[in-house]
């Protein structure tokens, strides 16, 4: 009997504490932002979206996927605004009429990570294409995202610049996000292209080190694009525009430039827009 009472009491407590909270949440004027995992994994996305929601009262649904998928969501009219990093694809996206007002507003950079033993002997080389060439010719292991993300696209550009293709037996496509891809490279002691912020957040748990950085090609530019409301009438054009304006504002600039200073004691993202607002 007591057992029975305890059981029912537990069930009711659980139900009571939970059911009154979430039914009320309704959605209509929500803005759907399709963005990339690198922005979310650093924690920058949450900070900016929280600030925007607090300021405007609008609700943002920020969906973090790869740049390839984000652009696809834009092509289908499933997102209102995109925050992506693959300039060539972005330009094509706008030319095809899916997007408007493309604005490049910030950047961070990629680094090439490798094992401390440096089997490809590339430590300290600045030219990324040369690094890739040596990795290919010495058949040392390279781990790729392999997921059509902005980082994967950048990797393909560097292979193209290098004029070689990676050795098939020494090339792994992880098919996962940045952090797991770095983890795979760490376990297998291979080389990997990663954005600096992911590297910094994983630094304490991996043995890989930066073997190359600073090349112009390793700059990673982020842009905002509004999904063209003329093409997709269901797009929340007003909400998207409000978020667009906020992300390009001085408030946003301040958040972005100060982000990461406390946790990683260095700036992660750099503002690219001329101050004119």
């Amino acid at each position: 009997m007591i057992q029975k009472l305890v059981a029912y009491a537990l069930v009711f407590l659980l139900l009571g504490s939970v059911f009154n909270t979430h039914l009320a949440a309704q959605e209509n004027g929500d803005v759907i932002l399709a963005t990339t995992t690198s922005v979310q994994d650093t924690g920058l996305l949450d900070v900016l979206i929280d600030a925007f929601q607090k300021k405007t009262g609008l609700t943002v649904k920020a969906i973090a996927v790869g740049t390839g998928q984000a652009l696809q969501m834009g092509r289908l009219g499933e997102a209102d605004i995109l925050w992506v990093h693959s300039p060539t694809d972005e330009k094509q996206f706008v030319e095809e009429g899916y997007g408007i007002n493309r604005t490049t507003f910030m950047h961070n950079d990629f680094v090439i990570l490798g094992p401390k033993t440096d089997p490809a002997k590339v430590m300290g080389m600045e030219n990324a294409a040369e690094v890739f060439k040596k990795i290919s010719s010495l058949k040392t292991l390279f781990v790729s995202r392999g997921d059509n993300s902005g980082t994967h696209k950048k990797e393909k550009i560097i292979w193209k610049d290098a004029g070689v293709s990676p050795d098939k037996n020494a090339y792994i496509e992880a098919g996962q996000g940045m952090a797991q891809t770095v983890a795979v490279a760490n376990e297998k002691q291979g080389y990997v292209l990663a954005d600096r912020s992911t590297y910094l957040s994983l630094k304490k748990t991996i043995d890989l080190v930066i073997v190359s950085e600073g090349d112009q090609v390793l700059i990673n530019s982020y842009s905002l694009i509004l999904v063209n409301p003329d093409k997709f009438p269901k797009v929340n054009a007003d909400g998207a525009k409000a978020l667009f304006n906020y992300l390009l504002s001085r408030d946003s600039k301040e958040i972005i430039e100060n982000f990461g200073k406390e946790k990683f004691s260095q700036q992660l993202f750099f503002w690219d827009l001329k101050d004119n607002q």
Binding site: Q3, K4, V6, A7, Y8, L10, V11, L14, L15, S17, V18, F19, T21, H22, A25, E27, N28, I32, T37, Q40, D41, T42, G43, D46, I49, D50, T59, K61, A62, I63, A64, L76, G77, E78, G177, M178, A179, Q180, S201, L202, K204, T205, K234
Partner: protein, 233 residues
Amino acid sequence: MNFILEGFRKGVILLFGLDSGVLAVLKLSLYISILATFIAVCIGVPLGSIIAIKRFPLKKIIIALINTGMGLPPVVVGLFAVLFLSRNGPLGFLQWLYTPKGMVLAQVIIATPIITGLSLAAVQSVDQRFYQQILALGATTRQSIWVLLKEIRLSVLAAVIAGFGSIISEVGAVMMVGGNIKGQTRVLTTATVLEAHMGNFDIAIALGLILLTMSFIVNLALTFIQQSKDRQK
């Protein structure tokens, strides 16, 4: 090795000093799993019982389909739920994508076959003559199913527990349908994935511990119900 121990230490601290962010995630996880289990039970138990009792053509095929459904890959459910619920999809007008409602829908689809299949097997395990006898005593179909279910409540509750377990631990479908949005659709499993991505293994371990603790409490309650009723027989 050290960072695993450190993770556990921080995990225990986080577990007992529940901050508001973790609490919101915990509440949403509970809300979605309990509501989805409840709906799946309402569909699955009667459906399983009726299929078990009634004779109709293609019965074996139907049962095979349900058994297949018990192993439905959550990411496939998630994919189709996203396609159907998306703005331009057939159910886009509901505006359920990236909301808790959409997540409940996906979870119901995952759990219903499990609960249906296990209830079906439970009802079938009862001697057919028992059912015939109830009917002979003048019970309607509905009444006789009720009597049967009471007789086998141990197995039926096991079906509920299995359904709940599959839902609370699920990550693929809720990630796709919910979008892991902070404060809106982030649940314990997707938060754990995100924290691991961010390299915050201590928080990921903490969330894992919270998930296990919560799952244990719910299962404890269900087990109490299951075992206490049995003892009165």
